[in-house]
């Protein structure tokens, strides 16, 4: 019956008596009938909400897939491809001089002969470098190094930064002031210059043999980690401290206290969710930055020691033969871009999904 709609159109002064209303309809409505009208959205925890949103983000999910694929590639390759990263190609036991600087998927003359004789030669998926080493393996290894460096550096920054920032934020007052002054000074020191400096110095000073596990990485990597540990945590510390301060003063903490929640619960359910999301996002975005720095240093020659490859040093080595063997630059470049892109998109996606203050 559309009577009611007509009434709303005009200035409603119509007499109710002109309407034909079934008196039955004036009976009281039951609670059930009323509740049918209500539609409330489901509530879920902060974490579940965030994960749901993240899953809807195609770029972020794509990045996760890419990263997983890369990790898989790193793990599987050594088992599949019979070359080592520093191994100079030998064919049938004979060092193959002609197998240097080959384009992808080509075979050297010696290899071709070998194949004709009936031997098997695993294809060089990305060709070889100037010393005759399989390039694909080197790129994969370089990726592994770059990723490891990135993640370790990020973890370092995370640990130191979160610890420092939480202490500063939690205690507040004098302690906070002093700690933040120190942060200010460290923040203004030009980090890359210091890294370069330290690398140069540590190179001379550190006796690599005293720490066997460092031999492979080289002193440059150690200095990278040292400087990261000394300088790069300040951003994270400031972030964490800021979060803790805001959360401390936020009304919902007070509200929770007032409604009788214990400190542990308050910290767990209110303070941490807000801090953790920010921390994770910052850590995720720290990785590409660390990888950048590492490749930059490798590029200048202050990175991992030869023959160990890193994406940056591979790119640098590629410069020499750029005119003829351009693929030597392109492959590591693509890898760097992929990893950085993946982490950046993932970080952005995480931020969009978990940052409670972000409104569309």
């Amino acid at each position: 019956m559309d009577n009611t709609n007509n009434n709303i159109d005009q200035m409603p002064k119509k007499s109710p008596f002109s309407m034909q209303i079934d008196l039955q309809k004036f009976e009281k409505a039951t609670d059930e009938e009323k509740h049918q009208q209500e539609v409330m959205s489901n509530s879920s925890s902060f974490f579940k909400d965030g994960m749901k949103r993240l899953k809807k983000n195609p770029l972020a999910m794509g990045s996760i897939i890419v990263l997983i694929l890369i990790v898989l590639m790193i793990i599987i390759t050594p088992h599949v491809i019979p070359y080592q990263y520093s191994q100079i190609i030998t064919v049938d036991g004979v060092r193959d001089k002609s197998a240097s600087n080959m384009a992808p998927l080509k075979h050297s003359d010696l290899e071709k002969e070998y194949i004709k004789k009936g031997g098997k030669v695993f294809p060089h998926l990305m060709g070889t470098d100037e010393l005759g080493r399989d390039y694909f393996v080197r790129v994969v290894y370089g990726t592994r190094i770059s990723l490891t460096v990135g993640i370790i550096a990020s973890i370092l920054v995370l640990l130191i930064g979160v610890l420092y920032g939480s202490i500063s934020g939690y205690f507040g007052g004098r302690v906070d002031m002093v700690m933040m002054r120190i942060v200010d000074v460290i923040y203004s020191v030009p980090d890359l210059l210091m890294i370069i400096l330290l690398s140069v110095v540590l190179n001379e000073i550190l006796d690599v043999n005293s720490f066997p596990f460092m031999q492979k990485l080289g002193t440059n990597m150690i200095s990278l980690f040292i400087v990261f540990g000394l300088l790069y945590w300040v951003g994270m510390a400031r972030l964490v401290r800021g979060q803790i301060l805001t959360v401390k003063e936020n009304e919902y903490v007070l509200a929770a206290q007032v409604s009788g929640a214990k400190s542990g619960r308050i910290i767990r359910k209110h303070i941490l969710p807000n801090c953790i999301s920010v921390i994770i996002i910052s850590a995720a975005l720290q990785i590409p930055s660390a990888i950048f720095t590492e490749s930059f240093l490798s590029f200048i020659g202050l990175g991992v020691k030869s023959p160990m490859p890193s994406l940056g040093s591979l790119a640098n080595e590629a410069r020499a033969g750029l005119t003829t063997y351009s693929y030597k630059l392109i492959f590591p470049a693509i890898m760097i871009a992929l990893i950085t892109l993946a982490f950046n998109l993932l970080g952005d996606g995480l931020r969009d999904a978990f940052d409670p203050k972000l409104r569309r």
Binding site: I21, L23, K25, V39
Partner: protein
């Protein structure tokens, strides 16, 4: 019939969001006469602010007026071009907002922002505009206006900032001033001052005021007419006396009875049960039905029409219609 300065007829406004269409205003109508003060009362989500923004056509990008008319001196604003709207805003109708801190641009001086309004709609420019700005600040009770003109919003206190907002809104002498919860963000004592200021200015300058608020106390004193809104619809309209002494809608009754009474200390409070309506999923019938203790079957499916009550004010509630029909039946039986 006098020509109303503003006439809103069956306004429907909605917002397009990811989760669907939010129907914020669903058939609101009212008239505003020259020099009168109209109060729009309702809780958060009732559609009162959106109604005000629809009149000014300053809705967010995802909002639009779906249907209805907004007649200013007989002309339908909903059909105005953007240029016509620019001339309308600030000159014919102004608005002041709830939070004066965020409503003023932090990087420009107060004087700059005042001058902007003045230079847009009056013929005053430069020094003349500045003088007018000083005049307005004096009018709203800001001390040392020449000095304060050069200051930034953050250098003013909350109450002072709201005075600046008022000065800015009235600088071009509009016919209508819309006040969207002007005192909600202020201390109680400052609230009283601002309301007094508004009434004062109204007497001096003669503009009509639409006062949007959720605070019944604010409404009671100032307004010539009051409309109570819920779920984007008008529940009840009348004078303050009508509404307060003879509430005729369950929502209004609920609002009034939920106000804590000093005389009844120790008694349990009576909040309105249930949760506010979900504007994404409007019920077929009365918007208040799910929370109404006296809901009837007809309320579930059919929207109550607006009916005039014996004392002259209006309400949209099936209960009144039921009462009226029962009264008629009773009268018929007696004959």
């Amino acid at each position: 019939m006098n020509e109303h300065i503003l006439s809103v007829k069956d306004l429907h406004t909605s917002f397009t969001t990811e989760k669907g269409e939010v129907k914020a205003v669903n058939g609101v109508s009212f008239d505003l006469d020259k020099g009168k003060i109209l109060g729009i009362v309702g809780e958060s989500g009732s559609g009162k602010s959106v109604t005000a923004y629809s009149v000014m056509r300053i809705l967010e990008a995802n909002g639009k007026i779906d249907s209805g008319e907004v007649l200013y001196k007989g002309q339908d604003i909903t059909k105005f071009s953007e240029k016509q709207m620019r001339d309308f805003r600030g000159k014919c109708c102004s608005i002041i907002f709830q939070d004066p801190m965020t409503s003023l641009n932090p990087v420009f001086t107060v004087g700059n922002q005042l001058k902007e309004a003045i230079e847009l709609h009056t013929s005053r420019k430069g020094k003349e505009a500045e003088n007018r700005a000083v005049e307005m600040l004096t009018l709203v009770g800001v001390n040392e206006p020449e000095k304060r003109i050069k200051q930034y919003p953050f250098e003013f206190s909350g109450g002072m900032r709201q005075r600046v907002m008022i000065a800015m809104a009235l600088a071009c002498e509009p016919d209508i001033l819309i006040a969207d919860e002007p005192t909600t963000a202020l201390d109680v004592t400052i609230q009283a001052q601002i309301l007094e200021l508004m009434q004062d200015l109204q007497k001096k300058m003669g503009m009509a005021i639409i006062m949007v608020t959720h605070d019944l106390g604010v409404i009671a004193d100032m307004c010539d007419e009051i409309i109570v809104m819920y779920g984007g619809r008008v529940c009840e309209r009348g004078t303050a006396e009508d509404i307060f002494y003879r509430p005729s809608h369950e929502y209004t009754k609920g609002l009034l009875s939920s106000i804590p009474d000093v005389e009844k200390i120790g008694e349990k409070l009576h909040p309105i049960p249930g949760t506010p309506i979900n504007l994404l999923n409007m019920p077929k019938g009365c918007a208040f039905c799910p929370r109404c203790e006296s809901a009837m079957k007809i309320c579930l499916n059919e929207q109550p029409p607006e009916m005039q009550l014996p004392d002259g004010h209006y309400a949209s509630c099936w209960l009144n219609i039921k009462k009226a029909m029962e009264a008629k039946e009773g009268a018929a039986q007696h004959e």
